[in-house]
């Protein structure tokens, strides 16, 4: 089942999501990228109802791209989060709402700070030091409570993430096999192997 994690460190945010695309009890694909790069300093991991997720993520991606083309100043992570939250909240009150959960990790180039937001399909938005969605969150959050260091290095952050993934693999019946991990910092977005 779908799992996504994210955590902040001293000057970066790590975002991780499993790569399985499943339908019912069948895995259809095991190398699906569920983390979109919305802008040079913004990552969004999405999970939820298949179809809704990709549709909504592309809608967000293109609107944020449009904003960048139209305006001289890029949208900050917190402004993007507020806008995305509103899009979900409006969708929730429509005839067919999107059921999509998001983790939004970005680097605020104006403030020189990493930012992480937890957003769910009900339009809840909160800024957090670490976050998780899916069944993995039941294991990951307690590990983050114990091991997360907001001033940690990238290596330390990746080690904490590794703990979460290992624990989920060990204890969760429907644990996903593979994860994609991306890091965003002042230099932009990069993908790392874990």
């Amino acid at each position: 089942m779908e799992c996504s994690f994210a955590l902040t460190g001293k000057d970066y945010v790590i975002v991780a999501a499993d790569t399985t695309a499943a339908r019912s009890i069948v895995k259809m694909k095991i190398d699906e990228d569920k983390i979109k790069e919305l802008s040079p300093h913004l990552l969004m991991a999405y999970s939820g109802e298949p179809g809704d997720t990709v549709n909504f993520a592309e809608y967000i991606e293109r609107n944020i791209r449009l904003h960048h083309i139209r305006h001289l100043v890029p949208l900050s992570p917190s402004a993007s989060a507020a806008w995305i939250r509103r899009a979900l909240a409006q969708s929730l009150r429509s005839r067919n709402p999107y059921s999509v959960n998001l983790l939004l990790g970005g680097y605020d180039t104006a403030e020189d700070k990493p930012k992480l937001f937890w957003i769910d399909y009900l339009g809840t938005l909160s800024e957090v030091p670490f976050a998780a969605h899916g069944y993995g969150s039941y294991f990951a959050l307690s590990l983050f409570d114990r091991y997360h260091n907001p001033e940690g290095t990238v290596e330390e952050g990746l080690a904490t993430l590794k703990r979460c993934i290992d624990q989920v693999s060990k204890r969760l019946v429907v644990a996903p096999g593979k994860y994609k991990v991306k890091i965003v910092d002042k230099d932009g977005v990069r993908e790392v192997e874990i």
Binding site: V73, S76, A79, A81, A82, W83, R86
Partner: protein, 264 residues
Amino acid sequence: MARRYDSRTTIFSPEGRLYQIEYAMEAISHAGTVLGVLAADGVVLAAEKKVTGKLLDLSASKQGGYGGSGEKIFLLNSNMIGGVAGLTADANSLVNYARSAAQNHLLSYDEDIPVELLVQRLCDMKQGYTQFGGLRPFGVSILYAGYDPHYQFQLYHSDPSGNYSGWKATCIGSNNGTAQSLLKQEYKDTMNVKEAIGLVLRTMSKTMDSTTLGSEKLEFAVLTLDPETKQPKAKIYNAAEIDALLKSEGLAKKDEDTEMKTAS
């Protein structure tokens, strides 16, 4: 024949000019002076009030503060002040539009609108009125003093055609040429707010038609950062504060009574 291309904003003259817009700009160059100076740690705006007189009821604008001290300087958003020159009625409508646009941005993005974005929104509106038929352009130039985390303190100017530009120090309204050449001579890149206040007041006192500066002729505002919260803090001075400021800068008008007493 000279009037053929004057009457509509939407029609070019054979020389490729839009007369109505040029007339609007001409109208502004007769309006009260508005002057702005950008410093490293803040922006200063000053404006000359034209409508004055003993019988004018100023009780509503005594306070200064949030809405503005009267005629020409307005708070557009918590991070932006606007100084307007030109038709007051047009200006009020634009200020209203700017405030709505800023609040809409706050609603959508949960942050103060970046300065240049709000300037652009107003300029889009102004430009529209130079192109679509049957309407007259806004007879207003605006100086915007603002702060955002992207470019820190900023000073912009927009005119009736919908053009805008960023400045270190500039002036609109009557005698703007004189004021601008004074600013060009005296402006220094290293200035702080205190020095900028001095420069603004000195320049105003030299360019304004009246011989002495006083709160009945002057509006004044400063945008700085709150030292504790690091958030932009707009201060629009009230009449008493302006007089106190002029006194401390040595530009206050001399009290005629005391002068006579010393003479006698």
